[in-house]
């Protein structure tokens, strides 16, 4: 059985950046396993721009952003296998995969980086009401049909959910001549980036119905009509608030879920908030030698941060491979008031180091402070004009600022 120092599962934005960083740090015996027939993952269908502002200080389309990494992977002769599906990872880090060339193979890894991305929440997962007809599709699938396959998905489109892909697809459908009748969002605020609300909805006069959801899909063979209704703060329909739209397509942009079936099979617990594994500052999971990053760890809103995170996971894996890990006391991060989750969930205290803590708020805040507490003493306060669940916050914390290490609590204090 062939043994690799590092196996990276997934050749999307996270996997590519992780592979490059590991290679840079001197890991030569590595491989990327990718299930699709191409590298780059979901970026390849994101033909709009807005990628790369952080990493490259310029606006790139998804395929352009991916290509920069793919070119580097090729220049550095990092091996990868395409159309390769991993069946199983064993407790001994044996990886069973299959593809057309090799049949079914088993390789052994000293370390594994999981970069398997996320999947979209479906009509079934949100228990969409009404008929089960053709014409209900997730935004990512609609995007694939339009941008990779080159086919129109509908003439009169309604969009449920204001996630970023939904907003991007609203504009995309308009540009291809479809009518986009509206976007309904069950929450009282949008779940997409503000720039997407402006550029994809406002610029095209597409109405956004906040606190609304689809109450019923009507149709015999294909979607013929949808009925939306307003919901109260307990998510119950408000009688009399129904609006009907004649349409042939309902695009769903109702959330992304980290895709971790391989880790679930290994019985590694998934965090109920992130739906990814719990990690430490090296992005190592509770399973020694298995690292996780990108959208399979937690859903990101910008690919640039996926690439950055993957780099940190690769550094962690390299450290693990070099056996540089010392037994250190481990502390927890706690998501306090107003915080949905904090990542990493665990960290060890090292003097002269910095840790990037990432978190999302559980609802929008205006004029507030992020308070980081340690043993009830305040480590840091950061004032913010606003905080939105759609935007991941990153706070780089100098460990030297902490005198007496203990668990760190993150919370939001509203300023009045």
């Amino acid at each position: 059985m062939k043994t690799y120092d590092l196996v990276i599962i997934g050749g999307g934005s996270a996997g590519l950046a992780a592979a490059l960083e590991a290679k840079k740090e001197g890991v030569d015996n590595l491989i990327i396993l990718e299930k699709e027939p191409y590298l780059g993952g979901i970026l390849q269908q994101c033909i709009h721009n807005g990628f790369g502002l952080v990493q490259f200080k310029e606006q790139l389309s998804g395929p352009e952003y991916a290509q920069r990494y793919i070119d580097l992977v090729n220049e550095n002769h990092i091996p990868y296998l395409l159309e390769t599906m991993v069946y199983e990872i064993t407790k001994d880090k044996e990886i069973y995969y299959t593809n057309k060339q090799d049949g079914v193979c088993c390789i052994k890894a000293r370390a594994i980086i999981m970069a398997t991305g996320c999947i979209e929440r479906t009509a079934g997962a949100i228990q969409l009401e009404g008929a089960r007809v053709s014409g209900i599709m997730t935004a990512g699938l609609a995007q694939k049909y339009m941008n990779i396959e080159g086919y129109m998905v509908g003439k009169k489109v309604f969009i449920l959910g204001s996630g970023d892909i939904g907003l991007i697809m609203a504009r995309r459908c308009m540009l291809e001549g479809a009518k986009v009748l509206g976007v309904a969002e069950i929450m009282p605020y949008s779940n997409g980036l503000n720039r997407n609300i402006v550029q994809c909805l406002n610029d095209f006069d597409i109405p956004l119905y906040l606190s609304h959801t689809v109450k019923k899909v009507v149709g015999k063979d294909r979607v013929e009509k949808i009925i939306i209704a307003k919901v109260d703060d307990k998510m119950n329909y408000i009688p009399g608030s129904e609006k009907e739209f004649d349409c042939d397509t309902l695009i769903l942009s109702v959330g992304l879920i980290p895709y971790n079936p391989l880790l679930e099979k290994l019985n590694i617990a998934l965090n109920p908030k992130t739906k990814g594994v719990n990690v430490n500052q090296d992005y190592e999971s509770e399973f020694e030698g298995i690292f996780s990053c990108g959208n399979s760890l937690h859903v990101h809103d910008l690919v640039d941060y996926v690439s950055k995170e993957a780099t940190l996971a690769a550094k962690g894996a390299v450290k693990y491979l070099k056996n540089n890990k010392q037994e250190e006391k481990v502390y927890k991060t706690v998501a306090g008031r107003g915080i949905n989750y904090v990542l990493p969930q665990q960290f060890s205290y090292q003097k002269d180091s910095k840790i990037d803590f990432k978190f999302r708020v559980s609802k929008p805040f205006k004029a507030c402070s992020i308070v980081i507490k340690n043993n009830d003493s305040v480590v840091r306060i950061i004032k913010k004009l606003y905080l939105l669940p759609a935007e991941m916050e990153i706070i780089s914390l100098d460990m030297n600022a902490i005198t007496n290490p203990s668990d760190l609590v993150f919370e939001i204090k509203e300023d009045f």
């Binding site: 979209e120 479906t122 997962a125 228990q127 089960r132 998905v153 063979d221």
Partner: protein, 475 residues
């Protein structure tokens, strides 16, 4: 086009009769309105092979359920269909229910079904997740779970392999009888017609007979949970029956998912809508049986419609028109009864009357299906080394290979739609519900049928998925 027998409807009843008739030297056609077999009631039910303790003693339901149940081991072996006798437990929540369990046990004995009553302590040993409400249960070991989609498909596949002709997308709109010959849609001729049109069997009957029965459509909504723990629930769990049917059940499925439902609401024949209120009610009822059901694992909700007859027993009869046989009102336990119904219809109405001979070359077996994900790795390797298509995984969630899809397409009842493929191989059945694989599946179907991918429907011929190509897409 002249046949000895025409069967209207390719649900589990029509398919069972077709396969039974395929054993004889007789020319048979099946006319199906949908774009696939088993696409209506047979496609959306509890997927349960009931033991037969429940139907009223002396009813056709009781007789055919028990007879049918015993036939499934052989049938599923011949037809290569997933079937497991996992047993069912009917749960009692209060003293009144416990009394009912005892009555049910007496009924079970009369129906010829072996059961035992288990105390709460005994139940906890075999089903540790039952709720605090549960007082006792009636265990019937002969109950089972089945893959209902492939049972219908493989029955018809075997029937077609043995000479039966299947016409999909052929809705019966007109039946006349001239002399001794039935003429259907001015095109299909037959000596005998078997009406297995399920929900629409009353309308079909009335094309040639005076109204003699009515089908009341009754909707059942269900939730499907993803694979999360193979041992969460090990038996099919029911609540003590109410007047509205058998009530809500929780059951593992033959694909290691969990099924929860159904509701029971009178509806229109084409109303397969799901609604939040009903789904929430089902969840509440299910929680009476089992604690901590992970409803965050729901991957799908759906509704099926049962063809309920007014008198609540199966209608298997020839009324005014000779050689026009109604097989109607086959509601629960219709699926389990279908093989026994088929035997009864074929023997009583056809063979006893016309004495057709048995074929000597009838082959009861379908060509075995290969499921790459169910084999040990060594075996998978051997297979992929022989045929590379088995190394190309199309459905990532359920791990279905291109090889399996191509094999399916090369069979006598192949899938013509995304839904038909999903029913056969579980492509798009998993967590992502086809988000990752549907485009690949479209390409494989389109390639096989020499079509463009926008010509492959989701289900019916009118249920298109894609419109025209975008301008410049192929440049």
């Amino acid at each position: 086009m002249t046949y000895d027998v025409i069967i209207i409807g390719a649900g589990v009843v029509g398919a069972s009769i077709a396969r039974e008739l395929a054993k004889y030297k007789i020319k048979v056609a099946v006319l199906e309105k949908d774009n696939d077999v088993g696409n209506e009631t047979s496609n959306a039910n509890s997927a349960i092979i009931h033991s037969g303790y429940d139907p009223e003693c002396g009813s056709l339901k009781a007789k055919l359920n028990v007879l049918g149940n015993a036939m499934f081991d052989t049938l599923c072996k011949e037809l290569d269909v997933k079937f497991k006798r996992i047993g069912s437990i009917t749960l009692a929540l209060d003293d009144n229910d416990v009394k009912t369990l005892k009555e049910l046990q007496i009924r079970a004995t009369k129906n010829g079904v072996e059961t035992s009553i288990l105390s709460r302590e005994e139940l906890l040993k075999i089903e540790p997740h039952i709720s605090n409400n549960v007082k006792a249960g009636l265990l019937a070991n002969t109950a089972g779970i089945i893959d209902p989609f492939n049972f219908c498909v493989h029955l018809m596949e075997n029937a077609v392999d043995n000479g039966v002709e299947l016409y999909l997308n052929t809705k019966v709109v007109k039946i006349v009888k001239e002399n001794d010959t039935f003429i259907i849609n001015d095109k299909f001729k037959a000596k005998m017609v078997i009406n297995c049109a399920g929900l629409f069997s009353d309308e079909i009957n009335e094309m040639i007979n005076p109204k003699s029965f009515e089908i009341i459509p009754r909707k059942g909504e269900y939730l499907v949970l993803d694979h999360f723990d193979d041992d969460f629930v090990k038996h099919t769990l029911f609540l003590v029956p109410s007047i509205k049917g058998k009530g809500v059940l929780i059951s593992p499925t033959s694909s290691n998912n969990y099924l929860i439902g159904p509701s029971a609401e009178v509806c229109l024949k084409d109303d397969k809508d799901t609604d939040k209120m009903t789904i929430e009610q089902i969840k509440k009822t299910a929680m009476l049986m089992v604690d901590n059901i992970p409803f965050n694992q729901v991957i799908h909700t759906f509704a099926g419609i049962r063809p309920t007859p007014a008198n609540h027993d199966f209608i298997i009869e020839e009324i005014k028109t000779k050689n026009f046989i109604n097989v109607a009102g086959i509601e629960s336990p219709g699926f389990v009864s279908s093989p026994a119904i088929a035997k009864m219809v074929v023997e009583d109405f056809i063979i006893n009357r016309y004495h057709y001979e048995l074929k000597k070359d009838f082959n009861p077996y379908v060509r075995p299906y290969l499921h790459i994900n169910e084999l040990p790795f060594e075996k998978r390797k051997e297979i992929v080394d022989r045929n590379k298509d088995y190394g190309e995984i199309i459905c990532k969630c359920e791990k279905v290979s291109k090889g399996e899809i191509i094999d399916c397409l090369n069979r006598s009842v192949p899938p013509h739609s995304i839904k038909a493929l999903k029913k056969r191989l579980r492509v798009g059945f998993g967590k992502c519900q086809g988000g990752m694989c549907q485009s690949y599946a479209l390409h494989i179907l389109a390639n096989y049928y020499h079509k463009d991918i926008n010509e492959i429907p989701y289900d019916s011929l009118d249920s298109y998925i894609l419109l025209d190509e975008l301008k410049g897409a192929k440049d």
